[in-house]
């Protein structure tokens, strides 16, 4: 019989309990340890890696890692080149590039999984594996989590449970289709007519994977593919071969804008009935296989009953700028579940919180906030006046948090009678909406024309002034002209 006592983090009382051992859980625990927060990590899985133990089905990630860069893998600047490693503190270098065979500049699923296993090992992130979170109770001073190993009491919970539960919209006859997660090896679709419902990442990923096998392929969903936005979208162009074949008039591949009315069983095969959106009219597709690439939701179990409000068609918990449930204080969300913190959506831009590159920073911001609520003050280095402009320019030129979480995270410096302090990385929305000491926030922003430019916000007497700086073709914001501009904007503040 397994010796439960030999596993780490036995049931009991902790300040924080982290649920999940994917990248969000590992990053959160690593940061909590760094700040000395007493916490437990539990996971229903039996090894680290989370969703990367299974997905993506066609085995290739979409975000890049450049194994070689002008800066070392143990530097903060390197994080900008590597969107897949967790952020190691205390000298731990980026690990994703170590495992890449360089066939592509994006890792395979297996390479990504291996790098996460290595992170848990080298950062010494302990996890109580095989411990399933089963129920949640609100207590006067926090929460109780009922698990398969017993009860955990804590002030705060960080759920890093992924967004991996199949989500299916209300479609009549959906039971005649299989969800993306049930996709079989591509050979199983040889000489079959396949309809894929959904034209986002997973739809195109499967479509691209089945092109050499299927006899006919239809991708269908109400929303058109927005060609102008594609280069700026996380939907990578290399998945778009089905789309290219269709728009160039290739045979057997169709990418159609239509709302699905029903899926019916007709003589052993399926019929998908749809109503055109971009071009009105009824459409019917006969298919041997129908795949619902309709996305995922977070496995929230009983959290909705506890009062957790959700967003994006009930898929993800709605969150504050610090990734706390908007409606149940004390419950936090890390990993790609943190996409429920929507930020200001300035110019309609969402943060990169559905991928490791963005949510690794969300986890650190979350953990610093939780530590402060537990009475652990964050480090605020004191700055001299002449250090402020160089710091701002350096951040605008190379801060990975700002460049990856555009329009969302900012670097803040406060100025008061007590001195000038570096407040570190702060959610931009929090900076703009909470008021406080006079301060400056630096952010990288993308506008509606997808132009990237640095922006500096100056807060004086609780009034905010926004200063958009001109874009630079190679993002060199540490030059003389930018220094002059930022100096001028900060003159009254400093």
């Amino acid at each position: 019989m397994e010796d439960l006592a030999a596993k780490p983090y036995p049931p009991g009382r902790y300040d924080v309990v982290v649920v999940g051992s994917g990248p969000g859980g590992l990053q959160s625990s690593h940061a909590l340890t760094g700040l000395g927060v007493r916490h437990a990590v539990i996971s229903a899985d039996d090894a680290p890696g989370g969703m990367f133990r299974r997905f993506p089905i066609f085995e290739r990630l979409i975000s890049w890692t450049k194994p070689d860069a002008p800066v070392g893998r143990d530097t903060r600047e390197y994080e900008w080149y590597d969107h897949n490693s967790l952020v190691g503190e205390r000298g731990l270098p980026a690990l994703a590039p170590e495992f890449m065979d360089r066939t592509f500049d994006v890792p395979s699923r297996a390479e990504m999984e291996a790098s996460l296993v290595a992170f848990a090992d080298r950062a010494d992130v302990k996890v109580r594996y095989g411990c399933r979170w089963e129920a949640t109770r609100r207590e006067e001073d926090g929460f109780t989590l009922e698990t398969s190993d017993g009860e955990y009491r804590c002030r705060f919970v960080i759920f890093a449970v992924g967004v991996t539960q199949p989500w299916v919209p209300t479609i009549r006859g959906a039971e005649h289709a299989a969800h993306y997660v049930e996709t079989r090896p591509p050979g199983a679709y040889q000489d079959k007519r396949v309809v894929i419902i959904g034209k986002r990442n997973s739809g195109f990923e499967v479509g691209n994977g089945l092109l050499p096998w299927a006899s006919q392929l239809v991708l269908v969903s109400p929303r058109p593919v927005q060609i102008g936005l594609l280069p700026h979208s996380p939907l990578r162009l290399r998945y778009l071969q089905p789309y290219e074949e269709y728009v160039r008039g290739g045979a057997g591949t169709f990418v159609v804008d239509a709302a699905i009315s029903a899926i019916e069983r007709v003589n052993g095969s399926r019929r998908v009935i749809a109503e055109g959106t971009t071009r009105p009219g009824r459409l019917e597709f006969d298919a041997d296989e129908v795949i619902l690439a309709t996305g995922f939701q977070a496995p929230l179990q009983d959290l909705r009953d506890l009062g957790v409000a959700t967003v994006l068609n009930d898929r993800i918990p709605a969150q504050s700028p610090f990734f706390e449930s908007l409606t149940v204080p004390g419950l936090f969300f890390a990993g790609n579940t943190s996409a429920g913190a929507r930020g200001m959506r300035k110019h309609g831009v969402s943060p990169n919180s559905t991928s490791v590159n963005g949510f690794r920073y969300n986890a650190r911001v979350l953990v610093e906030h939780v530590a402060e609520r537990l009475g652990i003050e964050r480090e605020r280095p004191r700055l001299e006046r002449n250090e402020v402009v160089p710091l701002i320019l350096h951040e605008l030129s190379s801060a990975p948090e700002l460049w990856i979480q555009k329009n969302f995270l900012s670097r803040v410096v406060t100025v008061s009678g007590k001195g000038i302090f570096d407040e570190g990385i702060v959610p931009l929305e929090h900076f703009l909406d909470t008021g406080g000491e006079d301060a400056v926030a630096a952010a990288i922003e993308m506008d509606e024309r997808a132009t990237i430019h640095p922006t500096v916000y100056v807060r004086r007497g609780n009034r905010i002034a926004e200063h958009e700086l001109p874009p630079h073709p190679v993002h060199a914001y540490d030059g003389h002209l930018y220094a002059q501009e930022v100096e001028a904007r900060l003159e009254a503040l400093l």
Binding site: P222, L326, E448, I464
Partner: protein, 140 residues
Amino acid sequence: MGESKDIAERLAGLALFADLTPTQVEAIAHRFEEEVFAEGQRILRTGLTGAGLFVIVEGQAVIRIDGTERARFGPGEVFGEIGVLTGEPPNADVEAATILRCLEIPHAEVQPFLIEFPHVMYRMLQAEARRLRITTEWKT
């Protein structure tokens, strides 16, 4: 909270979209994203660029100028349209007065959206005319 799982269903219940077919409403629900705000959370900020247009699906929003409440909007009503249509940053703050669900149409997509759905544009104009009348009556 009366949370329905299907946003298309909730949009279909709003007067703003009453002239559209179910397919058109579904297309809109897929094209734009739903946003949720906690009570007191800010949605539009005076003087800051980059805001879009919001259609309230559930809850109430309060409009403040220099901290003073000037109006409240509820389900089916639109805010942010003046900033988007004039190309100027908002001249008021808008905050959630309750938990608030909105459909957000980013600035750059407002014009193609309204041209594609003239019935929605007409209903927006009607609402705008009503607001203008109230403001005019209040001023005279």
